[in-house]
Symmetry: C2
Subunit: 419 residues, 2 copies
């Protein structure tokens, strides 16, 4: 039994109560707590792997796909990897207490805007045990309590990891109620988490587009929307063929299952004859299935006919859609219609055109002459990644620890009243 | 007829389409557009006052209260005041294009995080025509299109103001569809605005606590919650009597109808005998009705007995609640229970106690030895105020133009691919 609280609501209240002391912890206390958590995960490795074996056995009987079973699977090296990731988070600078603005009014009132923890961060995610550890570590590093709701398929694994993490907090004299799970309450627990306005300050869903859409639609708690990426690369009139092949292939095939992988390539008509065949051949060479419009199919061999659905699909696989557009205007129009506003890139030698693309495309990250795979907290140098926000409120693009903080104005006076 | 669009949805689509060109306007273009709007409001003064007279006449027959009629009323000087406020917004610096972060990766990829407009800002508010002009001006200054839904009681006044503003944009060669209203569609229009995820980027409700609660609960569009202030002042053991009287009276009586006015005073028991009587007398002298607990009633004359409801009430009137608490811990507990996390202040000579209060109170603005009336965009030096956010996501406390922008990462490369 993880805690004595018997309802999801009670668990969240415990997290909120704990958030008060967690929010006041200093940098060093939080760092040591995370190192203790990493050690505890290492020490619990056998228990975690055993719990995971139960989840895997249940998953096989309930018909989980091989891909899902693989995401769920933990062995000793993977558990060690989880602990190691916690140590990486421990080493990051404390985002709390940063002074973001300072001003002294004419009457002498001193105003300071400081970064403070949100309080309680909720996360709803699918059966990936690494997210359990990841989100808990990031939340604690930024002074927040956390309420987790992982997929039911990983329930025993998550429980073992959470027990280890809570035990580590206890040994450091820190309130273990700062890490909560509502997994045992199933879908009802997820619903209560989404309704917990006033107890939970922000909800970060992680997983499929469908999961995120459900949370965005149903949650009364403010949500940071992450994830889905129907990502575009535009090949402009002046795009060098080598660069086009290298960037498109890298953006698709280097790791096709992630949100920053390209899904659609738009080739400007004037460059189609020059670029389509070599780009398709490069993609074929990397094992990619190319879904193309009629022009693309006429210019290259082995192209699968694309339908309207292809333009809106986040394949997350070794598939790509290619369409020939009349000009940059039509490319921008296509992007407005189908993009999830995650990342888009243009390949061009024309600096004016590049700057137009950077200015006009309304996405979290807009690139010229680079692979979309760079949209990543690690690549951006944040040291950790909470997710990639595709919304415009609060955080946009790769989120680091700073995005898990809010702000507070402190006003220090000597009796000032308003005239 | 304001536009040819016949449904609320079409209006919002027009706003979104217009937001593309509005978002690319330069500082000077936006400034001139706002000056043209100010001139147009001045020029339309007679029409606006006439439209307002119709609203007032209808309001009288439908039984609007005198207070609501007064908020609704526009005469020539008030219309001139609206135009003047637009000129003030025009004079503010452009929040768009600010470089918020810059980094160059080892591979030479240059990353720049810039402030960009949200796109389309929605606002749902009550029958105050000044909000119509205010929100439109702030939205345009920050490069956003705007969809307005004012109270139906102000429909004709709002229509006249919006027509003037749209006309001014047209004369400047700017797409007038950047200013939209869904007023004619009544409650259905408000509902559609709250459902318009994907067309409207952020919704800023302004008005009563009930209006804001409805929007927060029903909106699928991300909301910035503003407003309600159950604001507390704590009088600590060492609070000087003169300072306590001056700050409490100022915070309550200088302008009782606003969200940063104090509603509850918590007096630490050790200071009660010394402070309660003079503070109550000072409040009585300012025409304030004091609702007090039994201890307060025993220490001062003319105290109305307070009930549980008083602690949770935002009076917005010349009423105040006073309670004696055992110590700072109990004061903090009371604040946690009843505060709307807007503004709280402590009066104390003890610097350690002041810093504890500043650290532990979880509100947008936390003060020591100052009147809560300073929580205000104008007082903070923002030049304009979009509202006072009581949420933790995106913006907290007084919001200026910067809070009406999102961000975008620009990545300028030379063919970089990920290893």
């Amino acid at each position: 039994m993880i805690t004595t609280a018997t309802t999801a609501r009670e668990r969240m209240q415990l997290a909120k109560d704990a958030s008060r002391s967690i929010g006041l912890l200093g940098d060093e206390d939080k760092r040591r707590a995370l190192l203790a958590i990493a050690d505890a995960i290492d020490a619990a490795s056998d228990d975690v792997v055993a719990a995971n074996a139960e989840d895997l056995a249940r998953g096989r009987t309930t018909g989980l796909s091989d891909a899902l079973l693989d995401r769920l699977r933990l062995d000793a090296p993977r558990v060690a990897g989880l602990a190691s990731a916690v140590r990486d988070v421990a080493a990051l600078p404390d985002p709390v207490g940063r002074v973001l603005d300072e001003r002294t009014l004419e009457n002498g009132l001193r105003l300071t805007k400081v970064a403070v923890p949100f309080g309680v961060i909720g996360s709803i995610y699918e059966a990936r045990p690494n997210v359990t550890v990841d989100i808990a570590a990031l939340a604690l590093r930024s002074g927040n309590a956390v309420v987790l709701r992982g997929g039911s398929a990983a329930e025993r694994t998550n429980a073992a990891l959470i027990e280890a993490m809570r035990g580590a907090l206890r040994t450091r004299g820190i309130d273990p109620e700062a890490i909560q799970t509502v997994d045992e309450f199933g879908r009802a627990g997820a619903r209560e988490l989404m309704q917990a306005r006033g107890l939970v300050d922000v909800l970060v869903p992680r997983g499929s587009a469908q999961l995120i859409e459900t949370v965005v639609t149903e949650s009364l708690v403010p949500v940071i929307e992450t994830g889905a990426g129907v990502v575009h690369i535009v090949l402009a009139d002046s795009a060098p063929v080598d660069r086009a092949c290298a960037i498109v292939t890298n953006a698709k095939a280097q790791r096709p299952s992630v949100c920053n992988a390209v899904e659609t390539v738009l080739v400007v008509r004037s460059a189609a004859e020059r670029l389509v065949r070599p780009v398709v051949e490069a993609l074929h060479g990397a094992g990619v299935t190319v879904h193309g419009d009629e022009t693309v199919a006429a210019l290259a061999d082995g192209v699968v006919p694309a339908t309207e659905d292809d333009w809106a699909t986040e394949y997350l696989s070794l598939d790509i859609a290619i369409r020939v557009v009349d000009d940059l205007d039509e490319a921008l129009e296509h992007i407005r219609r189908y993009s999830t506003h995650h990342t888009e890139s243009i390949i061009t030698e024309d600096a004016v055109e590049a700057e137009r693309f950077l200015a006009e495309v309304d996405s979290a990250v807009v690139m010229a002459n680079a692979s979309t795979r760079f949209t990543d907290g690690g690549e951006f140098g944040f040291g950790a990644e909470v997710g990639i926000s595709t919304q415009k409120l609060h955080a946009r693009g790769p989120m680091g620890l700073a995005e898990l903080t809010s702000t507070k104005w402190l006003a220090r006076g000597a009796g000032q009243v308003r005239a």
